[in-house]
């Protein structure tokens, strides 16, 4: 039994194996690079384009400054924010007690709820507007108020908020918590407020961020109902002056990036973000 491995022999072999272990095939690298290009090139182009086309003597940020100076920019952005927040408020007030109730008292209704949460995909925004318009036109007092957009956006946000709340409630043992609270003397509304909601915080915040992203970016309904939301404003400005449209596009990008960062920091980036994409 000869004593084999000398120190000199072991060192080269360890290098050999470390390299073999970590080598990434060219095949995979190609696709990663290609995907990276697909993602980055348009953003880069946006930045480049929005800083171009300026007259000599003007600031390179000319288009951004023009846009910021436009009062319509501020008012449309503010309008969109308001609508987004209203959507979140209505959505939460409507959905949180409902999903809570179904989980607690009506578990048999879960399949129905699952089915309903898919319906907004069957009826995309453009189709929904077709059905809603004649009905809304008759209710003139509502029709002219931007709040009507919030009410409609609740439907678009429904699948994602439902999924987030459903998952959040499934993660906690709802029945046990409620019974424990009951045995300590708490009534149901109080239990919902003090016991359940804090445990659902991540789901609610995640769902709300998604809702805001949807509401801020929505164009179809807003344009057809003729409201000047941020995306409608972007379209109007952009189709007349491409440079400004692209500058606004970059501003949108920063906003969406921020919202997604918020979602990702909540640790649920992948799944939920994928969900939002299915609304455009």
């Amino acid at each position: 039994m000869a004593q084999v491995a000398t120190v000199a022999e072991t060192r080269p072999s360890s290098h050999r194996f470390r390299r073999a272990r970590n080598r990434v095939p060219v095949w995979h690298l190609t696709w990663l690079v290609l995907a990276a290009l697909v993602f980055i090139v348009p953003i880069y182009s946006v930045v480049q384009f929005s800083l171009a086309g300026v007259q000599p003597g003007q600031s390179p940020f000319h288009w951004y400054l023009t846009v910021f100076d436009d009062p319509m920019f501020r008012s449309s952005f503010w309008l969109s924010i308001q609508i987004s927040l209203e959507t979140v408020a209505v959505s939460l007030v409507l959905m949180v007690p409902t999903v809570f109730w179904v989980h607690l008292r009506l578990p048999g209704l879960r399949p129905v709820m699952d089915l309903i949460s898919i319906l907004p995909f069957v009826v995309p925004p453009i189709v929904l507007v077709v059905g809603l318009l004649p009905f809304l036109e008759k209710i003139t007092w509502l029709f002219v108020r931007p709040e009507v957009l919030s009410l409609i956006y609740v439907i678009f946000a429904l699948p994602f908020l439902y999924r987030a709340l459903d998952a959040g409630l499934r993660a906690i043992d709802l029945r046990t918590l409620v019974e424990a609270a009951e045995s300590l003397g708490a009534k149901l509304p109080r239990t919902l407020l003090r016991v359940i909601l804090p445990n659902l915080r991540a789901a609610i915040i995640g769902g709300s961020l998604l809702t805001i992203a949807i509401a801020m970016g929505e164009y179809t309904v807003a344009s057809l109902l003729e409201f000047s939301t941020f995306s409608v404003y972007t379209y109007t400005i952009g189709t007349s002056t491409a440079y400004e449209g692209v500058a606004l596009s970059f501003i949108s990008f920063i906003f969406v990036w921020g919202a997604m960062l918020g979602l990702y920091l909540l640790g649920r980036g992948g799944r939920n973000a994928a969900a939002v994409a299915i609304t455009h």
Binding site: A5, T10, R11, S13, S14, F17, R18, A20, R21
Partner: protein
Amino acid sequence: MATIELRGLRRTFGSVVALDSLDLDVHSGEFVSLLGPSGCGKTTALRIVAGFEWPDAGEVLVNGRDVLGQPANKRNMGMVFQAYSLFPNMTAQHNVEFGLRVRKESHEKRAKRARELLELVGLGTAMDRYPRQLSGGQQQRVALARSLAIEPSVLLLDEPLSALDAKVRVQLREEVRRVQLELGITTLYVTHDQEEALSISDRVAVMSDGRVEQFGTPAQIYNGPRTAFVANFVGTMNRLEGTVVSSEDRVVRCGPLMLSVPDPTFNHRAGETVELFVRPEDISLELLSNGNKPAPGLFDGRVTSLTFLGPVTRVGLATDLGPLLADVSSAVALGLAADTVVAVKLDSTALRSIAR
């Protein structure tokens, strides 16, 4: 059949040392188990042999040739994983045929071999079933058949029975051993279950923290543990502390007793404190009639607990030598209750000392 030699295997994951200069050799046709708790490196060692991990240093020789340069799919070894390894989209038959299919064997040859092997593991009737239609034990049998289909030089098993029910585990380990003996295939088996390792292996390597603590036959490991770890890990051991009275005669004083240690490798000097180990089954009890002192060579103890284990009852005792566990037949134990005073006898031929 092949021989396996592991020389100086070393592997770290970040700051954790998984393998610390491991040496092992497996003879042709031998069944060797790597036994140890989680994290001792046994699975890492096996995966290095299989080719799914690489060591930072060291060699793996199969039949004297270094295999570390070969990728996993060229080493011609059979491997059985803990669970979930059957391809879900194929029947049992096609699973077993897979290795042969990759080697471009003919349809008839593949089918014949698959049938042979499935019958060998007792599943000749299940050839057309899908993995999801098979129980855990059946799946592992198919996995075994599949790994043998390619006529490997070496068989590797990574805790193949851990995910199964206790009764199935006992049945199946006999199966594995039977198949191994019939084919005479060199086998390396990883497990944390010492009963499993001791019952089916030719030799057992007890591992801890990346090193082999002891490598020997099951009897050697069980009856002659050479380190405290092995003594404690394999079976249950009582630990006694004593002072050496005479090094030549190998006499140690433990409490009121003078014990003679039969171990010829006993090398402690007079006055040293040593640890002695004795197994519960080597301690016997006698009921003491009230007030009587125990006979010479025996000492008294008070029953502190009784644990019914089926054929034996484990009796916890408080004695002058410290707390002890004794296994007595359950019939005898019927006469015992908490706080009963008994006479305790140690079988001194079963005393072991661990070399420092």
